[in-house]
């Protein structure tokens, strides 16, 4: 099958969309494999390949991410770009491919952006302080199954940044809330629950992400389906953090 790919190329401060017609594609290919085919051709004709982040190519590492026809990771629900297959496109389609667009995610080159702000949000409090060796027996604290399931659902976040790219405000609240929920519903995460919410949100804001206005674009773009209720939970924790003792 044939696709016309309009791809964002950027090597300095600004970039532009460049059109490539790729005609030896198969519906079984993933979207990234289509980019591979294009890149092989570009290299053999002496041009520079399109730079894009990718690694596991099975939808779990969170490294890949691009706007495909204006949608984060493309048109398929709950699917990363690496798991998006060409069978979901029609022969002859024109597809526009751009990097994540958000101020805290500066473009490094072409489709590659810098998402280190996410690491800083986690470093601000997205953990349970338990140095190696200090843990009690795993069965010392039973966790009700529904809580464990809620924690897991939130912990499934892959940190790809689609939520930010999809949000009209460029907010990373779904990413932040996913971590706060994962740790905040577990008994092990209670001691730092409120300080965690406060510190992660402070770092989120400092990194330049926008505020959340509950538009819900994030959750519909999220390849792991992190629910919007995580944000409500984070807001509740944040409120409590700011209305109780300052050391909480």
């Amino acid at each position: 099958m044939k696709l016309t790919l309009r791809i964002w190329r950027q090597s300095g401060a600004t970039g532009r969309l460049v059109e490539y017609v790729v005609d030896d594609l198969s519906p079984d290919m993933s979207f990234l494999e289509a980019l591979d085919v294009l890149n092989e051709r570009l290299i053999t004709t002496g041009q520079e390949p399109v730079a894009f982040d990718h690694d596991c190519r099975e939808g779990i590492c969170g490294m890949c991410g691009m706007m495909i026809n204006g949608m984060a990771h493309g048109p398929e629900r709950a699917t990363t770009a690496c798991q998006l297959h060409l069978r979901h496109f029609r022969d002859g389609d024109v597809v526009t491919v751009e990097p994540w667009r958000a101020e805290p995610f500066p473009v490094v080159r072409d489709l590659v952006v810098d998402r280190s702000a996410f690491d800083r949000i986690v470093a601000a409090g997205g953990y349970i302080s338990v140095p190696t060796g200090s843990a009690p027996d795993a069965h010392a604290t039973p966790v009700p199954k529904p809580d464990a399931d809620t924690a897991f659902e939130a912990a499934a976040c892959i940190g790809c940044g689609a939520c930010v790219a999809a949000c009209p405000n460029g907010s990373a609240m779904l990413f932040t809330a996913a971590k706060a929920t994962h740790l905040g519903v577990l008994p092990q995460g209670q001691p730092e629950r409120y300080s965690r919410a406060r510190d992660m949100v402070a770092e989120h804001d400092a990194a330049g992400f926008g505020g959340c206005t509950n538009t819900g674009e994030c959750t519909s773009a999220c390849p792991k389906g992190i629910p919007l209720t995580t944000i409500a939970r984070l807001n509740a924790d944040l409120l409590r953090a700011h209305t109780t003792r300052s050391d909480r």
Binding site: S11, S26, D28, M29, L32, E33, D36, V37, E40, I43, T44, Q47, E48, P49, A51, D53, H54, C56, R57, E58, G59, I60, C61, G62, Q83, H85, V108, R109, D114, R115, S116, F118, D119, V122, A123, A124, G126, Y127, I128, V130, P131, T132, G133, A135, P136, D137, A138, H139, T141, P142, V143, P144, A148, A151, F152, A155, A156, I158, H182, Q188
Partner: protein
């Protein structure tokens, strides 16, 4: 034979005495660095997967100055994240007869008696602490309604000792380690260097003192120094081009260390995983695993008639061959990976694959229960293939998944270069010739959280060492070699892409050094690889410059190292004239086609010394001593 034999390895630094207390005694005999001095001792950790992430976090907690490196944009993306099924631990929460000794026994046997007993026993002991640590970190393991942890069974075991978080256990364990690591980054004890690739090891006066790296964004080549270097850079399955590894997984760090003097052990021991989604065409860029956990409930079969063209659901029960259940009634579909893969290969081929069928499980448990256990795996399968496994059996075939071989390490996980430690998949130590399912996560975390931090003080107690800087001749030479190599790769400006070379090398390795090997095939590969390597350096085309992000350049450097490693893998496979675990030599099999081990001649670890590109390596043997598990023919029937 294209190798020479050198002195055997006599000292593995294993404490004498009862195996149950060896680790305790080693921890006691290891010297310590007092807490106030630790901030003056520095450690470089390369790689941020389960082993590297947990090691860097733990060393930071202990107070050492740590520098952590990964090629990805964030430490959270290391390929441990893709591990699906679970992590073993001898908790015996099920009261089903498990124990440290049984996990030890299963692992030694599963490895086909080619691993070091003392290391494996320690691994089994530590397994229970790992689960405690991870639960305390908030890893959301699957739980029963009573709030306690759920477990399931994996291949090669008759107990239920595998803890899991749906089909994303690796992700959840890695996020636990990553969060602990980020906590240390925030505390200023770990300096994080993402998008930075190690391109060489700095050895000064016989000690590992640092690394040469390339900043993948700016292209700058620079040095980092420390009192010790830890490699946690994973396995080398991508030698085969197509594997379940991430695209970026590579052998450069361990291969460069090998070139600097670290012995490389059992390079031919590679694991072919039985249940992966088959190749769909020439464009295929990687293979996707379907977790071994699926074999808890899925039944593997092929049509009795290989030419049967009916759709799988139209093939009646009588015309199906549930070959694993037929051949191995005691373990059924849960035989170890090497056995299942070879059985699948013998009964089918890459094009047809074999079926993994859930119809019985759905009838027995109902769709919701099956969805609860495997939902995300079924979705992933459907996304890739377009088929719905709830309705039609999965089609699967074996694929390269894991490498048991790696840099040789002693009981302290130290390589043959003082100050260079190797942990996780990058070392060779615990899995022998075949790794059991759910044991990679266990080993990575055991090494990183507990073993390395428990013994590295013994080495660091000798520090501080003489200061080194960029002006030291050994350092300057290493840096200029790295720069020269980058320059050469860019200067060739040939007519073939890196990908085309990688694909050709991978196909050759899969055909001649894959699931089944023989002398003629290995000799053929050993002729072809050097030719292909020569051609690579004459014809490779790497566009762009080295002064900024250049993903082709990164790939070219990795593939260049794969050529050299591939050759060593074939030398090792050729020299080991026996079948064991994942290494199946067709000349060495029983009348029923099972692996035939030769303990009289090959009960040793083959540790190879580098002598130059294309030069015959030197073989050093570490004899394996079995005092607690008697080597026998592995039987799963």
């Amino acid at each position: 034979m294209p190798y020479t034999e050198g002195a055997p390895i006599s000292d593995q630094r294993v404490p004498a005495g009862p195996i149950e207390t060896r680790w305790d005694r080693r921890r006691f005999s290891a010297r310590l660095v007092n807490p106030a001095n630790r901030r003056n001792r520095s450690v470089i950790v390369v790689g941020t997967g389960l082993a590297g992430g947990s090691a860097a976090a733990t060393l930071g907690e202990l107070g050492y100055r740590v520098k952590s490196f990964c090629y990805q944009d964030s430490p959270r993306r290391a390929h441990s994240i893709a591990a699906q099924g679970g992590i073993n631990a001898a908790k015996n929460y099920r009261n089903d007869g498990d124990s440290v000794h049984r996990l030890f026994y299963d692992t030694v046997k599963g490895g086909d008696f080619r691993s070091r007993e003392s290391n494996v026993h320690r691994l089994a002991q530590i397994s229970v602490e790992i689960i405690d640590q991870c639960v305390a970190q908030g890893v959301p393991f699957a739980r029963e309604y009573g709030g306690l942890l759920d477990t399931r069974s994996f291949g090669g075991a008759q107990v239920s000792r595998t803890f899991y978080a749906r089909g994303q256990t690796g992700q959840q364990l890695l996020l636990g380690a990553y969060q602990a690591l980020e906590r240390q980054v925030a505390a200023g004890r770990v300096e994080m260097h993402p998008r930075t690739e190690m391109l060489d090891l700095v050895v000064v006066d016989g000690r590992a003192r640092g690394i040469v790296v390339r900043d993948l964004v700016s292209g700058a080549v620079s040095t980092h120094f420390a009192d010790a270097v830890v490699l946690a850079t994973g396995g080398y399955g991508n030698v085969f081009h197509l594997s379940t590894n991430a695209k970026g997984c590579n052998a450069t760090a361990i291969w460069r260390a090998h070139r600097r003097g670290a012995l490389f052990a059992n390079p031919c021991f590679t694991q072919i995983h039985p249940t992966c989604i088959p190749i769909s065409g020439d464009h295929q860029s990687k293979l996707t695993l379907m977790s071994e956990s699926l074999r808890n409930d899925g039944r593997v079969w092929v049509p009795r008639d290989p030419h049967d063209t009916r759709a799988p659901n139209d093939i009646p029960e009588a015309d199906r061959d549930y070959f694993l259940e037929r051949m191995y009634p005691a373990f059924g579909n849960l035989v170890p990976r090497d056995i299942a893969s070879r059985a699948a290969k013998n009964i089918s081929d890459e094009k047809r694959g074999v079926h993994l069928d859930f119809a019985d499980a759905i009838a027995r448990l109902g769709t919701p229960a099956v969805e609860q256990r495997y939902g995300n795996l079924f979705e992933m399968y459907q996304r890739i293939t377009g088929d719905d496994p709830y309705r039609t059996p999965m089609r699967i075939y074996p694929a390269v998944h894991y490498t048991m071989g790696g840099l040789w390490v002693d009981y302290d996980l130290r390589s043959t270069i003082p100050g260079l430690y190797v942990i996780g998949e990058a070392n060779f130590s615990d899995h022998g010739a075949n790794r059991l399912g759910a044991s990679a996560l266990m080993q990575g975390l055991a090494d990183g959280y507990f073993v390395l931090p428990g013994v590295i003080g013994d080495y660091l107690a000798d520090a501080p060492f003489d200061p080194v800087d960029d002006h030291h001749p050994a350092v300057a030479d290493t840096v200029s070699e790295v720069r020269g190599r980058v320059k050469t790769l860019l200067a060739v400006d040939g007519d073939r892409t890196v990908e085309s070379f990688h694909r050709e090398l991978g196909r050759l390795m899969w055909d001649e050094c894959g699931m089944e090997r023989n002398e003629a095939g290995l000799r053929k590969a050993l002729e072809r690889i050097p030719e292909l390597r020569e051609e690579f350096w004459q014809r490779v085309k790497v566009p762009g410059t080295g002064e900024r992000l250049n993903q082709e350049l990164e790939k070219a450097g990795r593939v260049a190292d794969f050529f050299e490693l591939a050759e060593l893998m074939c030398v090792d496979a050729l020299h080991r004239e026996e079948s064991c675990g994942g290494h199946f030599r067709s000349e060495s099999q029983t009348p029923d086609g099972e692996a035939l081990r030769d303990d009289a001649n090959f009960s040793y670890v083959a540790a190879w010394e580098y002598t130059g590109v294309g030069q015959p390596p030197v073989l050093h043997k570490e004899e394996l001593v079995f005092e607690h598990v008697t080597p026998s023919t592995r039987s799963y029937s």
